[in-house]
Symmetry: C2
């Protein structure tokens, strides 16, 4: 039996079973919310669905876009049809033209968003999966659109038979008619005396899709009559290839991620460089997406620019990605962030313990210094009000040597102004959002076993430069050429 002679309800049933097997989630028996525009495809989907699951499992959701004078009457027809078939109906009205104007969007994009918001709401209330009637010809257009607009494997997959609603990732979005052609669906409507209230071929009026449907695909069919089938097969092939690559990339991502937080991520550059090119690219994409919540498309040119910088023998380069994300190429790490203040080269770090002479200066990493100066108490009092966290005034007697080093495991201090309470340095660092990868080598100034200053953060109560201090030392941490 050829693909095209399989009855639509059988195809639908098989697609739902396939979806259930692929996702491992019991989705084949409903409950379903079917998005019904009133076009041939959604009407056929609803009718075929009724022949394989009980009407009680189905809710028709119809959103009136209010764009055409006849749309209200069409909504009534759909409501009556649902009632005649014993199916629940939820209607909605969205002022799409106003929404588009308010958001500065195109009508089609605003309509699409309103429609999916509406479907998400109806499905959420019912704990149902959303079904749409996208079919094989829609799929061909989608794949072709991605090819023409530029895409990697992700786009070549086309629409997936099962995914999540972008508007609510808890809700499944199923497209069980992707294996059926527009011609098949229209024939099904004729065979079952179904009367679409809207001409489906005019429904999607975006310029791009219309050009594809009316100019591009007909021309491509003259050079390759099977182009539609080829693109469907390509989508099916690539879906599996992409899934495997994504799985590998996810595993590798865990391996190379040293640390991450909102808007930034630190990758092990050495490890990353040892991965296959496909995975190196994929990790940069994922890292960019992590840093740019708006999810701008990375694009091939900027991806390759970042990769070239990250693979260069010398560190110190930067690459700029969409969304203001910067890739800082460090000797052993890649740091991506849209917020340069989080950059580790802009944070002080200390290696081996080093003596801090008073007066004197100690060089840390990347042009960072700590400078110690003896000041008179009056200067100290006057300056203290600036509250620059990178300057500290401390009371240290002249016979007490100072040292700069990293924290020790379990080390504690008595933060100024907290009544002498002992607090672990680790807790203070977490509290002050020092990224984990910077904590180990974050400089602390110590006198013997006692913390004097957690640099840039907090002075210890025991070294408070009070009114009666015999000797006040000003500690300044700064980055510069000095």
């Amino acid at each position: 039996m050829s693909e095209n002679t399989i009855p639509l309800p059988v195809k639908l049933q098989r697609a739902l079973v396939d979806i259930e097997e692929t996702t491992g989630v019991p989705l084949a028996a409903g409950p379903f919310v079917v998005g019904v525009s009133g076009g041939a495809d959604s009407l056929a989907l609803l009718h075929a669905l009724l022949s394989i699951v009980p009407a009680g499992q189905i809710t028709v959701a119809h959103l009136d876009h209010g764009l055409r004078p006849e749309s209200a009457a069409e909504s009534v027809i759909i409501r009556d049809q649902a009632a005649a078939w014993g199916v629940a109906f939820v209607g909605g009205l969205a002022p799409v033209a106003e929404l588009a104007a308010a958001a500065g969007q195109g009508i089609e994009e605003a309509g699409r968003q309103a429609r999916y918001r509406f479907l998400a709401q109806v499905a959420r209330e019912r704990g149902a999966a959303v079904l749409t009637a996208h079919h094989a010809d829609d799929q061909v257009e989608t794949v072709l659109m991605h090819i023409l607009r530029g895409s990697g494997l992700a786009g070549l997959r086309g629409m997936l038979p099962a995914g999540r609603l972008p508007e609510d990732p808890d809700i499944w979005l199923l497209r069980p008619l992707l294996g059926a052609s527009r011609a098949e669906i229209e024939q099904y409507c004729r065979d079952h005396d179904l009367h679409p209230v809207e001409d489906a071929s005019n429904r999607d009026t975006t310029y791009f899709r219309n050009r594809l449907r009316h100019d591009v695909i007909p021309l491509l069919e003259t050079v390759s009559p099977q182009i539609g089938q080829h693109l469907q097969h390509l989508a099916a092939t690539v879906t599996a290839d992409y899934a495997l690559l994504q799985q590998l990339s996810d595993v590798a991502m865990v391996d190379v991620t040293l640390d991450r937080g909102p808007g930034w991520i630190l990758l092990d550059r050495t490890l990353w460089q040892g991965l296959p090119l496909s995975i190196r690219r994929s990790i940069l994409r994922t890292a960019h997406r992590h840093c740019d919540p708006a999810g701008r498309d990375l694009g091939f040119a900027s991806l390759e620019g970042a990769r070239a910088a990250a693979e260069a023998p010398r560190s110190g380069q930067q690459a700029h990605l969409p969304g203001g994300v910067i890739v800082y190429v460090l000797p052993k790490e890649l740091f991506l962030t849209a917020d340069p203040s989080l950059l580790p080269v802009l944070a002080p770090q200390v290696g081996k313990p080093v003596a801090l002479p008073v007066p004197g200066r100690v060089k840390l990493n990347e042009g960072w210094f700590v400078e110690a100066t003896v000041v008179n108490a009056r200067d100290a009092r006057a300056s203290r009000d600036f509250r620059d966290p990178w300057t500290a005034y401390v009371a240290v007697e002249s016979q007490t040597p100072l040292l700069i080093r990293g924290r020790r495991r379990g080390e504690r201090m008595q933060p100024l102004g907290m009544g002498g309470r002992h607090t672990s340095i680790k807790e203070i660092m977490i509290d002050r959002k020092i990224p984990a990868h910077l904590r180990q080598r974050w400089p602390v100034v110590v006198a013997g076993d006692q913390i004097v200053w957690l640099v840039g953060q907090v002075v210890d109560e025991r070294f408070r430069a009070g009114e009666t201090a015999a000797r006040v030392v000003r500690l300044v941490c700064f980055q510069g050429d000095a």
Copy 2:
């Protein structure tokens, strides 16, 4: 500096260094055989190459296709140009029209084959790599052609910067101008006063490419002006993705291959079923290629048909692939072959040792039987001339019980007609090309510790049914319903 303002020789140099890094083979410094048609692209390639490597490293190879009256004069111009630049020249003349007629090919295909054979020959003599002048616009056409004609990832890669000549896999075929556009190349020719002898845009006159160049691509550019760049980027992305998937698939292929020989392969079905979909498909493709040396394209529909059969809960199905390759779905294996006589279900196999009564019959696997009958010596002598290997006449006394079992480790016999020489059963099996996966359970008829008959292959000298035999037993191994 934008991509398009990088001088052609710099691009060429970078591409050669990239190729060297990617392949790990020292290819960047030559020696090179440059295929020169006399068109703008090959002339520019030759000229740019001369500015980065010594002329002594370069040989110009030009094949006169003898299709146009002016071609002989063009060959002379190219030879003179090569001489003027101090570059070795090898000319050839191929009667392409006659070759095409003889092979029943199109002129273009015959020309392409003759050209690559010629290039292979010139390169082989010089231990050189072949360079062709395929450029970015050629690449765009190639990728688009693969998309339109139906392709998975392999085709979407387009032409590779470095590969092997199909006509001689020992010779490298390099395409270092894939990153340069036709416009750039033509500009380079104008800037350096190079005079192509042939209009490159008319060179490739295949119907399909011409349709792409003159109809399809211009239309696509009206809907997506950057389509050319998008397709180049797609090819670059997919090349890396494909390489990784192929690497995974190669590793998995080794794991699932139980045995293989010319024209057949036996796969571990259980293991195969546990692999990701992408790899399952890839392994079927590789297995098909192994069985069909002509390398017919598998095609998505037949691939999916074979996969469905192979994944079905019940074994026993068959799927038919191009090139006459059949996939036999066995309980724990997949057997692919274009020669059904190699099918293991058509070969006898024995499990536990089992007594063979005389007269009597023993059932083996899959409808195979061994039958023992006492015959008179005259019948034996008369029948022996048929030399059916599946029938044996042996001298066995009536008090000697017979047993059927598999071979034992290190077991030996004295094959009939070899003067009583002891030979290991393993060696006989290898010599007689019994596939390794069938050897362990290949039935042998034994009397005590002595081999009587290696079924279907050879009788033991000690049980020869000679003139004086007291009792002759006919052993027949056959497959049937009995």
